[in-house]
Homo-oligomer: 302 residues x 2
């Protein structure tokens, strides 16, 4: 890497090589989207041995390895493993990566990385990131270059973000991938995402679990599109969610308490129906807001 600029702040330099650690739905889609938006950038993938073959089958990486040493030469590294693994990798890169580098991640909780970020050496800059995108199916096989089109991508700078230019560099990259960057701090992120993403996931899984167990396979075939929509998220893999819940447990507990409280109010007033009137009325107004947003987005989604 040496030569002029080797010790300049990472954000001031162009990106020649991007490393991605963890090649699942998000990491794989990130690779495909970068290849489409910035065809000249070199792509390096790191994945555990058993999943390396699936990553290779994507045909998008210039180099693949199962060791972080494969990242040698990357200007920017995106961590796309489950969040607690991302924290461990960030710590290890801080201790071993020899050249200036800008690191970001794509995890669903952001406070978890602050401690590892705090310990980073000065030549490593870190900007947290979270694309609000997903798909019904997980894994590299489901990766798509357009997964982030018109989706928000939250950026959470912290004390390990060495310059504003680093935030701008990541924002510019994710904009090129079709996403809409929004900057917020890690604390605010984890609180709002507990409600926008983590609570809906836990609710959909709990609902599917309860309905399936209580009605059984035969009667489940009677279910209408309402149950199908409400439980779509229940196909999500548990492993990712163990990490998310463990690293955002305080905010998620508050969100679950609020939902349990609303369900208990409905339960206590099924006959008179005043809680139904109030909660359905409020829900209908918020839902209309979501639908108006979708109508604005949908015509342009590919």
């Amino acid at each position: 890497m040496g030569g002029v600029g080797a010790h300049a702040p990472p954000g001031a330099r162009p990106i020649h090589a991007i490393g991605i650690v963890g090649i699942g739905l998000i990491g794989g889609s990130f690779a495909l989207a970068v290849r489409r938006a910035r065809p000249g950038v070199r792509l390096i993938g790191v994945e555990r041995e058993p999943a390396l073959e699936r990553a290779a089958a994507m045909g998008v990486f210039d180099r693949l390895g199962s060791d972080l040493a494969a990242l040698h030469g990357a200007d920017l590294i995106a961590l796309s493993a489950p969040v607690r693994q991302n924290a461990a990798v960030l710590t290890e890169l801080g201790a071993t990566f020899p050249t200036p580098v800008l690191i970001t991640d794509t995890g669903s909780t952001k406070r978890v990385l602050l401690e590892a970020a705090h310990a980073l050496p000065a030549h490593v800059s870190f900007v947290g990131g979270h694309p609000l995108a997903g798909a019904a199916r997980a894994g590299a096989e489901a990766a798509r270059a357009d997964l982030f089109q018109r989706r928000p991508w939250l950026l959470t700078p912290c004390e390990a973000t060495r310059s504003l230019a680093d935030v701008e560099l990541v924002a510019s990259l994710v904009s090129d991938l079709g996403a809409e960057p929004h900057v917020m701090d890690a604390e605010a992120h984890d609180h709002v995402i507990a409600f926008l993403s983590h609570l809906p996931q836990l609710t959909a899984s709990a609902l599917m679990h309860v309905v399936g167990n209580r009605v059984g396979a035969r009667d489940l075939t009677l279910a209408g599109p309402g149950l199908a929509d409400t439980t779509r998220l229940a196909a999500s893999p548990p492993a990712i969610w163990r990490d998310i819940c463990a690293t955002n447990s305080d905010a998620i507990a508050l969100a679950l308490d609020a939902l349990i409280d609303a369900l208990q109010r409905l339960r206590g007033d099924l006959t008179a129906g005043e809680a139904i009137e109030e909660i359905f009325g409020s829900a209908g107004r918020w839902r209309a807001l979501i639908e108006s947003g979708q109508r604005i987005r949908e015509p342009e989604v590919s």
Copy 2:
């Protein structure tokens, strides 16, 4: 109506005229579907004064009125108002309808009609009915002739069902409308539908209420497709649901208790994650069953 057959069991006679009481999404779709499947049948609609104009605008009814007397001459009457109104109309028709008639309904709870059915005179036969169909929008404006295509239509015969032929007549009619008739008793219906339909509705509304109130309008624009799917049902109108909850409160309370229990188990184990593993695992298996059912259905849905 007189002449030969006037006092024969209703189910033994062909249907010449169908009356529909309550012209919303379901009643309106029922009318459109009958017009398409059985073009020779006369259609009579009954709706409250303020909504009569919308029903007339559908252009599908041979006669429209705001009084049950408009139903004169109907061989079959479908009650499609909110369920407590259907029970009141059934009682009134039992006391006033002069000729043999087969009555069914399209409500989401079935035990509510048993008392009114018990008091019916012998020339009135009743078979409960519940099409498991819905749409994101309510009202006659959203009515569609294909709303029932390949959807289950539950039939709940009771002591006021005068002959097996009456059940067969309704089953044959709804089959012609594209639906799949299933016979069960009212008690079993209300229990299983509390889980398959009522619980998902209450959950979606409670979730949308909580998320909207806690994150506010600005951050709600960040929401991804997961929240949008999980809260799709929250657009449902409160009025219908006050009736449904009031007439199935015991079964719905059990369903809510089961969900609250699962949410509390998740809440109590966010850090260790064993409840997440178990509930997500179970939910994923049930969800896969729903998806395999959808894959079978979807290619043929119009």
